[in-house]
Structure formats: C-alpha cells, structure tokens
C-alpha cells in the first residue's frame, strides 16, 4: 500500500459534504444512485465512512449499497489517481488497434486495467465505448479526448501529463 493511501485511511474523513448531498435527495424516490454519484464526485471515490453514513440516513442496508456500487462500472471504492486515463476498447477502437495502445500504456506506467500508480498520479481504465468511434482509437485523460491514437502519439500524451503536477 502506498504512503498516501495509508495516510488517507488514517485521516478522519470530513463527512459534511456527504451530509449536504444526502440532504438534497433524502425525500426523493430512487435517491441512492444520484447520492453515490455526487459523493463520489466530491471525494473522488466512495470512502467506507460515507457508505455507512448513506446507509444510515437513507435507511438502506450497507450490503445493498455495496451491491449497487460493485454492479456499476463507475463507482470506485479506492482512492484514484489525479489523471484518469480511459482507453476505449469499443469495436471501432479494437479494430484499429486499441489493444496495442493499452499494452504500451501498461508497460509505460507499470499498471493495468483499474489500477492506480503508487504516487496517485495516474489511474488506467479500459472502458467499453466512449462514443467517439469516428476518431478511433481514442483515449481520454480526465475530460480531454485524444483521437486517432498511435503508439507514438500516446507516448507524447503520457509525457505531457507526467510533466504536469
């Protein structure tokens, strides 16, 4: 386990933000998903303490919440990197060599699908389709899309982000 991660666990998590989010949705039907989505946006992932809080306040079993969280691809139970690199693995990207891009990226950063570098800088995810098939193969770094990728272009993109804080 990395230092930062250990630190994050030792520190008490400030639950006020989570409480505010729950306040917004508490009387709404089907509140669980929007609450999880917003809490994740606020904290970057879903810390265990928040899950306990949501369970108590929305009156659902934690097991049910974990059931939902592990079902959907977009919920994360561990802290994630500052830059999230999504490698599209859709059909169009696959046909145009997404596998090669993903392999090179893994070699470069030393992490595979759904893993985070120790310094919490990068997380790599292989995703189904980000709907940018016309520019295949595609990767996304946070919200920025990079299309028509080649192994070389990918190296440049990674270098650019490695150089940033």
């Amino acid at each position: 386990m990395s230092n930062t991660q250990a630190q994050a666990e030792q520190e008490e998590i400030d639950l006020s933000q989570a409480n505010e989010i729950i306040d917004k949705y508490i009387n709404m039907k089907g509140a669980l998903m929007p609450v999880l989505q917003e809490v994740q946006e606020a904290y970057g992932y879903l810390p265990e303490d928040c899950v306990q809080l949501i369970a108590e306040r929305l009156n659902v079993y934690p097991s049910q919440i974990y059931g939902v969280m592990t079902f959907y691809a977009q919920f994360h139970l561990e802290p994630r990197g500052k830059y999230i690199i999504r490698v599209c693995m859709g059909t169009a990207c696959h046909v145009k060599g997404a596998g090669r891009i993903a392999d090179t990226l893994s070699n470069r950063l030393g992490i595979g699908h759904a893993e985070t570098t120790e310094d919490l800088k990068f997380t790599v995810e292989h995703v189904a389709c980000i709907g940018a098939c016309g520019m295949a193969p595609v990767i996304m770094v946070n919200d920025a899309t990079y299309g028509s990728m080649s192994v070389q272009k990918m190296e440049e993109v990674v270098k650019k982000y490695q150089g940033m804080d």
Binding site: V68, Y72, T91, K96, C129, T145
Partner: protein
C-alpha cells in the same frame, strides 16, 4: 434562413472532437476579429459531437460555416486561429471566399446520397439556442399534436409506419397504444439514451446537436399516452450530452414550455435527466427501470411488460432517442410524407454510425432501403488504404457480421435479419482483410461476458465457457470439434437466457461461423491466422517479394526493431520486436506476416 435571421452567422463545430482540435480558440479568434473590425454577427456552437457527427466529417475539425444572408453557406475545414484573420478579412469583409481552405469535393460527395431529416437541424443551428430551434419549425409539431385527440396522435404515428430505432424495430404507435390503454393516471415516459453499443454514437449526436427536438418528441408522446412524468436515462460517459440537454430542459422550464400547463397547451409534463453509471445491460428496458429506481440494473422476466407494470410499478413507455427525434418530424410534415420514404417494412430514414477501416468515418442519415455498398463506397468513400473489403459488423454485440457477398443487402430491418445480422442501433463497423473474424467474435463475447449482470445461468456461465473456447482458438490451441460445440452452445444460450443481452450475445459467434468458417478451421487445424491478426500466431517476418521497400514499417516501429535503408527490403529484429503489430497495420502492401 435569410428571412428569419438577417445576420451574419459563424457556426463552429464544438464537440469533444472539435474542442480537442482547438474549436474554443477558433471561436475566441472570431469574436476578437469581429470586435476589431466592428462586424455584427453571431458566433454559434454547432452540433457538437465527438469526432464525427454533425454533418459527419468532423474528422476534418475544426469545421466552420460562414453563413452570409442571401449567399450560400461556405464550409471551411481544418480551421486554425491563424486562418480566422484571413477568413474575416477576405471572405466576410471583402466577399472573397478563401478558396484554398474550403472543404474539398469529398465533403459534397459525403452529403450527396444522404437524406438528412432527423439530422436536419444538427449542425445547421446553434444547439444551445432556443431561438434557433424555434426558427426551424421547433415546437410546431407539439402545437399540431395538441389540437388532435390523444388517440388521433397515436393513430398518426401508426400511420407513419415508424418503428423503434433502438434496435428491436417494434412499431412505435402500437407501443404507445399499449401504454395509453393501461388503466391509471400515474404513468411514466422514459427516453432510453443509454446507447451502450460499442460503435454507435447517433443518439449522442442528437442529444448534443438538437436537444430541443428530443424534448418536443417526448412532449408529443407524453400528450398522446397521458404521462405527466418523463425521464431521460443518459449514460454517464456522455458528459457533454448531459450538459446540453440539462441546459435545454432548464430553458424550457424557464419559458414555461415544460412543467404545469406546457406552453399553455393544457397538459402537464415534467422532465428529468437520470445519469447512468456504466452498465451495458441498463439499455435493456427492465434493467433500465431498476437502475432509475436506484437498484442494481438487473432485468426481470416479461410479462408483465412495462406498458402494464413499469417504473415504480406504474405503466411506462420507453423509446430511444432517435425514435423520439423522428416523432417531431412526423408532426411537422405529416405521416403521409414520412411513410413515403423508405421501404415496405421500414419507413423513414435511418442513421448509421460508420467506423472501422473506412475512409470517412462518421454518422450518415440515409433513407431506409439503400444498399450497404452505397453507404460504404458512395457516402463514406470506401475502404481505408484501398484495402479489400472483408466484412461489416452491423448491430453491435447483438448483431452479426456480414461478408463481402452481402454488401448489396438493403439496410432495413427485415433484409438485415434475413442476411443474419440486424439493424440494432445502427452501428456499422467496417473490416478489411487485416481483421480476424475469430478475434472479432472473441472481442464481442468478451464484452457481453463482462457486461452480463449474472442473474441467469446460461448467460453468466455459458458465455464464459464460450469465451474460453474462443480464446484457446485464437492462441493456437483449438481442438477438433470446437466449432460444433460453439454452435450448440449458441443455440442453447439464445433460447434459455432471461433478457435481450443473453439472447443475442451469441449472434456474432454464429454469424462469423456461418460466413467465415474457413478462418476458424485455419486457426484450429493449421494454427494459422489468415488475416495475420492473432498475436500468438504471428511470425513477424517481411515477405521479400511483396515488400516495396518504402520504409513505412521502419518509421512506425516504436522500439526501433526494424532495419531499413532506402531501396532495401526491411528486416525485423526479433530480439527487439515487442510484437505490437504496428508495422503490420502500417504496411500497405501486406508484406509482413
């Protein structure tokens, strides 16, 4: 448009693709130039779709349209901020078109055979502007609809012959009739914008390029069925679509177009966005409803159908984005006009997303019944690098692969099913001779296996077993009898699965075995991959006779494993080679195996 907007307009493609190519900088440059020269004009965001979309060719981003009242609009491609000064000074101020930078003839060719109905506003109006929408027939459809009785609205949709564009192709009017006939006042209307099929992105394009059009279609449906509450279930992978649609919904509430007594038309309709969370199975309607309710998105057996017992046990009607978008146009121009387009069984137009090894990847809207050949060669310019066409995969993971012989098949619901594929949501992935069909079957199965919700055994365990076999084959360990075993399992899984995901997951395997059995046999019997695509079976050698000594492979190799000098045959150093297949893809002469 000259009569409505007597002003100069600049429309800039600002999709993720456009933005990635610097569309924001181009917009800023236009604003700055306008200010500098004192030009009055509107700089607008055009349909903003990733990569391609709007009019299909955003691969040439940034695309800019200059619309001067009374003149034909001029399209420029590959616009950079530096070019903006030139465009403003020469074209806008002096009236001399910058001919060198105009989009080339392929752009007109691309549009020639298309019939843009649903997309008629996408790319020509400012997607975020309600005024632009109103100036282009916006909300005239709903105004016509409320003058009819709800049943008459349903009959009009039935008469148009519209079939659901989400894939199944069920007649939309009939579906509406079921829900309208269910007892109770508390009903729900859902727009399925989950669009999980890899290789399809037309729904996203509509959401981003014409969000008001979707809202109007939903209002017409809500009025006809008697629903007061609507949801748009958008996948969370589409942040820009969510943002655009939310803005459109907010504006509609502000102007009183949504909510209590919509536009003063005498009915109430509330519309909300629900963001998905990344699960392909949520495109299935019962799973989608479970997801809105905040549960795991697991499908349940039907009947009861959603029209009887749907969201929160109330009668519910679900259609996809393209279907609702079609509805608006049926009411603008009438059911007779609509049903005059297309074939006997499929009316209207269909949007296809063309991707893969094709020259002009993009979204095209064509009248149903046009042939695959016309779409691939006439509209999209044929195969990349002038390679040989091998197959086209239609309908995503639920569809099938059609071989070269089937290229003259018509694109409509019935012809495609006869040919062994399906229309599905309209994704067409084009493959050339470098694509291995066994690998494609493996790819789709890997996808559906990962996305299976796991509720029913045939889907959960059956797909895993099939995938194991396919993986073995692509690694060169195939056994005699594997093909027959796969065929058997396909039939069983299709029969026994609970929902559409499992029932259609074996389709890619079945269709590739049907048309490309020899490739399976080559893998199993000779441990050979005929398209040289399965890594484990590749040798990585240059075929001397075929090598044109061009050096492309040398330039592309990321690890300098290729030795080449001008006029010499390239040599691959196997010690250094990481078997990444870059060189194989780059070689235009198929000289590497």
């Amino acid at each position: 448009m000259a009569e409505k907007a007597e002003e100069l307009r600049v429309l800039i493609c600002q999709g993720t693709g456009g933005l990635a190519s610097g569309a924001q900088a181009v917009e800023d440059a236009f604003r700055a130039e306008f200010e500098k020269h004192g030009v009055e004009g509107k700089v607008g965001k055009r349909c903003t779709v990733v990569g391609t979309g709007c009019r299909g060719l955003c691969a040439n981003d940034v695309l800019v349209d200059i619309c001067i009242p009374g003149q034909e609009a001029v399209t420029y491609d590959f616009v950079k901020p530096e070019l903006v000064t030139q465009i403003v000074e020469e074209h806008i101020l002096k009236g001399e078109v910058v001919a060198k930078k105009k989009a080339g003839p392929y752009y007109n060719k691309f549009l020639e055979k298309q019939m843009r109905v649903v997309f008629s506003r996408c790319g020509t109006i400012d997607a975020e502007s309600l005024d632009d929408f109103l100036a282009h027939e916006g909300f005239t459809g709903i105004k016509k609809a409320v003058k009819m009785k709800p049943q008459e609205v349903i009959d009009e949709v039935k008469k148009s012959g519209l079939r659901g564009r989400g894939g199944g192709g069920f007649p939309t009017g009939v579906k509406w009739g079921f829900c309208a006939a269910s007892p109770g006042d508390d009903k729900y209307l859902i727009c399925n914008a989950d669009e999980g099929d890899p290789g399809a992105f037309m729904d996203r394009s509509i959401l981003e390029g014409d969000p008001y059009g979707l809202i109007e279609g939903m209002m017409i449906a809500a009025y006809a069925i008697g629903c007061k509450n609507g949801y748009v279930y958008v996948r969370a992978e589409y942040p820009l679509a969510i943002q655009r649609l939310q803005k459109a919904i907010d504006v509609c509430y502000e102007k009183g177009f949504l909510g209590k007594d919509c536009m003063g038309l005498g009915f109430d309709f509330d519309l909300k966005i629900k963001a998905g969370a990344g699960a392909f199975v949520c495109g299935e309607e019962t799973a989608l409803m479970a997801s809105i309710e905040g549960e795991r998105g697991m499908p349940r057996p039907r009947p009861p159908f959603p029209a009887v017992r749907g969201l929160w046990t109330k009668p519910t009607n679900i259609n996809n984005v393209e279907t609702f978008a079609n509805v608006s146009f049926i009411f603008y121009k009438g059911a007779d006009w609509y049903s005059s387009i297309g074939t006997e069984g499929t009316k209207g137009t269909k949007i296809f997303a063309l991707t893969g090894k094709i020259k002009h990847t993009g979204l095209v809207e064509v009248p149903a019944g046009i042939t695959m050949r016309e779409v691939i060669y006439d509209v999209c310019g044929g195969i990349l690098n002038n390679r040989k066409f091998k197959a086209v995969q239609a309908g995503g993971p639920s569809g099938g692969c059609l071989p070269g012989e089937a290229i003259d098949a018509q694109v409509d619901y019935d012809s495609l099913i006869k040919a062994g594929a399906m229309m599905g949501s309209g994704g067409l992935v084009v493959m050339d001779e470098t694509t291995c069909m066994v690998d494609i079957a493996r790819f789709f199965l890997n996808f559906t296996r990962a996305e299976s919700c796991g509720k029913c055994v045939p889907c959960r365990i059956g797909l895993k077993n099939m995938l194991d076999i396919l993986e073995r084959i692509t690694e060169g360990h195939g056994r005699e009898g594997d093909i027959e075993l796969l065929e058997d399992m396909c039939v069983d899984i299709k029969k026994a699965s609970l929902c559409g995901l499992g029932q259609t997951a074996p389709n890619p395997v079945l269709s590739t075995i049907r048309y490309f059995r020899d490739e399976y046999e080559a893998h199993i019997k000779d441990q050979r991959c005929p398209s040289n695509s399965c890594k484990a079976l590749l040798k990585f050698e240059v075929i001397e006779e075929a090598c044109k000594k061009c050096g492309l492979c040398y330039k592309i190799c990321p690890v300098d494993a290729i030795k080449w000098e001008k006029g010499e045959v390239a040599i691959i150093d196997k010690e250094k080679c990481t078997e990444c297949t870059s060189c194989y893809d780059a070689c235009r002469f198929m000289a590497i195996e």
